[in-house]
Amino acid sequence: MTSLLRRPELGAFAAFILTYIFFAIVTQGAGFVSVNGTAGWLNLAAELGIVAIPVGMLMISGEFDLSIGSTVGAASMVVAIATSFYGMPIWPAIGLALLIGALIGLANGMAVVRTNLPSFIVTLATNFIVIGATMGFSRLIANVTSSSIVSSDTAHAVFAARWGQANISILWWLGAAIVGGWVLSKTTFGNWVYATGGNMQAARGAGVPVERVKIILFIATGVAAAFVGVLQGVQWNSGNSTYGQGYVFQAPIVVVIGGVLLGGGYGSVAGIFLGTALFGVISTGIFYTGWNTDWIQLFLGALLALAVLANNYVRRFALTARR
């Protein structure tokens, strides 16, 4: 029991349950709890969740990545221009997009470990550089900043298949959570991640290759962001340089809701998963209420604050209870 209470995701779980019950009650009759309503918030959460999981692991290791927003848009534009302007088949184009995501991650990682500058600033700069380069090259090459994507059946099956109204992105999200959770809790690399974020000097002294840990996590984050860009692009048949800009802060927000400490060293993938689900419920459920949407950000902010407070309270309660 105490080990259960000590888990970082407990607070997020409690907050999720409370929020879900709240919306189930206030949206009665609008179909929020129906199969299609559930598919709706899961679809929204899934796309954010795929990128939030590596972002969260990176945050546990003590670093931020704010360049994810532009990477999402860049990947979608790479696929769009490669397929519709150069007539490239979609799979090599997707490979190229993921490779570019990995390179952006590598560049972030190298810059952070070489310069020792805060990753918050380094990756914020990367975010501007990448969206600027995406727009510049798109205009130079094809005279556009958003463009159609020429897809194929297999690409559609992998990135945009649907069962009823549930997108395949939900499965990718679950997959990312399972892989991320396994890496973080069952492997040596996972221990290195916690050690790097907990106390970098001590970790280095104990022989943890902290630089390599960080660079690998930055690359994973870049690839995940590019993956979401491909997924959105194929799903909407269109690349757009501005896709993903909302994730820049939404991803760290759901990670923190999920119980990861902003300073690193503490957190879990299950928590991040629940934090993302909570965000999906709030930001979708609010529209099923039919309330005046002029106030929407106020509701959203208040509910997020409440969720984090509840989370924090439960966690503190759990941590004291173990003594």
Partner: protein, 343 residues
Amino acid sequence: MRGFLDYLNSAARVSRRGLGAVLLAGALSLGAAPLVAMHAKAADDGPIIVVSGPLSWPFFAAVKQGFDDAAEIFDVDFQYVAVTDTANMTSDYPRLLQQAISRNPRMLLVGEFFPDGMDPLIKEATAAGIPVLIHNSGQTLWEQNGSIGFIGEDPYQMGFKAGQIQAEGGVKHGLCFNQVPGNPTVEARCTGYVDAMKEAGLETTYQTIGTGDATNPQAMLQAIKGTLQANGTIDGVYTLNAVPAMSALRAVQEVGRAGEVMIGTADLSNEVLEAIKAGDIAFAMDQQPYLQGFLSIQTAKQYLDYGLHPIGAVTTGPLVIDKSNVDKTLEVNKEFSGVRGAS
């Protein structure tokens, strides 16, 4: 930042930083304005300077194409001045305009995107005898600041027209979906739509979303879906950009009301045009950015050479694209990428 910000609903990067920043920067540059252009004058051998929108946006790429084509046809030279970094446009644009005026241009072709900072400068320029022609934004200001004319659209009228089309199409309860709340141009479109529907005695709902989600089609889909679920009587949707138009289409399909809800949108994309062709979206509205550039150069040439110019505002929008003319638009979009400001 009127018509300029139209395009922000697709770009949506700057508007997110908020109206507060716009107003603040506007106020700051207003204070600086009287210092400028004190010795400016129109020089016969001076350049024609265009102060217009950032070329990273497809909309202004089309405007620029119009400038370029007309300049070639009429054998006119001009210099295009625009920001490349869109983070501080409210203060950058008055500064760019200031610099343009101080170069003693033969004529100024200006998009008056940020009236608070730009209008006093335009007044200085016209007082100094520099002919100024406004395009794209500034439709309510050009008569007072001494400009010779205006070429562009009225966002309110654009929305009003959309409301009229939906009312005539039998819509009883219309939803205006604004993905960039706080942007005055975009809000004017919704206001126009709501007014037209009200005039016809019909019900309307105005919906916005969180600012972080302005470029997330999935988030917009879920938001519209939720509103359609919460409100079963909505049978018309008007979106303000091509991306939310596609989200609205999916939302209508997901709640099982395809064919019952009439969807119309401002602005174009290939996806929207294909959906119009398939009959899923009723109409899209084009403000014809190319014409704003082309007609500006043509007017400049004829004004400088012969003293001729159109009287009053030249309206370039909205051109309504529906099933009857969508094929031609798609054809043009494929053959002349960028001219329609959509792809």
